[in-house]
Symmetry: C2
Subunit: 317 residues, 2 copies
Amino acid sequence: MRPRHDVGALVAKARDGEARSVARLITLVENGDPALPEVAAALAPYAGRAQVVGLTGAPGVGKSTTTNELVRALRATGTRVGVLAVDPSSPFTGGAILGDRIRMQDHTTDPGVYIRSMSSRGQLGGLSAATPQAVRVLEGAGCEVILVETVGVGQAEVEIASLADTTLVLLAPGMGDAIQAVKAGVLEVADVFVINKADRPGADATYRDIQGMLGLGERAPGDWRPLVVRATAVQGEGIDDIVAAIGKHRAWMEAGGALQASRERRASVEIEAIALGTLRARIGDLREGTALSTLAAAVATGRLDPYAAADELIKGL
Amino acid sequence: MRPRHDVGALVAKARDGEARSVARLITLVENGDPALPEVAAALAPYAGRAQVVGLTGAPGVGKSTTTNELVRALRATGTRVGVLAVDPSSPFTGGAILGDRIRMQDHTTDPGVYIRSMSSRGQLGGLSAATPQAVRVLEGAGCEVILVETVGVGQAEVEIASLADTTLVLLAPGMGDAIQAVKAGVLEVADVFVINKADRPGADATYRDIQGMLGLGERAPGDWRPLVVRATAVQGEGIDDIVAAIGKHRAWMEAGGALQASRERRASVEIEAIALGTLRARIGDLREGTALSTLAAAVATGRLDPYAAADELIKGL
């Protein structure tokens, strides 16, 4: 028999900055370990201390280079940083992520940085299931900024925005991104646009496109107007401007109450996802017993309709 | 205000074979209409009368031509037939389906055939959500065989097998399908393999591949050994063999109790899906009230952990 995790001790060590304990806690989260509620309870007091920064964009736009440079710049100011690289599309932790990992090893000897690749494999709800709990672990470990990097495909941007306090959307010139951004509804979720590879032809056009689209959006007085920053991450250019934009958004959120609203919204999404997961598991457990099979037999023979059967099932939960 | 649907009258007319009422009932199903439980209750007595035949395969393998010819052959014997063409991948009812529709119009003047394209758009759980209810409508309308056609991508084959009494998997020579079939776990769900376009080079090799793989599988005495049928649907060749294979599988199921088992399994999946949908809706409703926001505020400030909050939420359902 495997020994039960000593969650209290693990969390205490993570609080003390022991990287191995942080890693083990995130592994519990990834695996949906039965100890998760206990982990969450131990971490609850440290909630809401970090600024969660989502970083998303199309493949090839330079997300991991930008993340790497942001870590460097934040560390230069003494900020404790966590990085979660989430790959929502691949059933494996794919090639790109492995590449990132190697590059991220720039920071592996720095005790002020935690970096973790997470696969959302097998997780119903993808990002929404495990990532918030991993963020809680990093908050517990004292990270002040947590970068959550994910490939912007499908609904990933929208999911990441529901998780993040500040959402960065990376674009690159000449990729038709500006138009795609509007299509995917990214315009509504981005707090900061980063036009990366700004030394390439077309960067000015992309900048104008984005500014133009931002001009069209309706905004009430006091609303946040997304910032647009140019960078060439691979040369470290513009990184300080991104850090400044993140700081501006944080200051705006704190001043106007948006930070608290963002955290309550995030907690709400998290609670709903956990509740639904619990109910799904309870329904799955019913497969073992006779209640579901009795109902199924009644439905199969037409004595009961499936909606009435589902109501019965719910009553028995 | 829109008048409430007179479900009783609609079902009675559908029972009498009125195509318009059948169509309206399936539309209610597709839209997840609030009247659905009432529809299901009215249809329950007619459950389990039809043989549900799933028909799946890779794009281009000739599914709709085969479906069309099967309808023709079944009608020639006086069998009442329903067809559900489900497109699980497209957010729209895509081009291929529209193409099918036109071809299917061969049968539109025949009162013994109902044909319906369904999009699984927006349905959490895809096929598993609306299709079983549409099958119930067609059963209620007196269909004896219901063909459910879907593109074999991702998990579609497995989903269709959980819905169908008899699962047909279509292959074509030279598409590497035989190998792909094994990869996708199709071998376990197919009751009948149809090698379509059997006049093409490579058909014999595909036939041998499939037979070889079937020989490797372990099978208890009395288990069904999948049949392998060759056809050239576009010329109407082999269609009678497919009809015969479907009949053989039905006879085997009735003789050994597999038909009842298949129906109870299907009902079980259906009940679970409806129960989960109901619970999801109830949780969603909580967004309107104060319970969820109170819990979210407590989690956001670290007074409560999200698992404890989820437990509270569930208690309040």
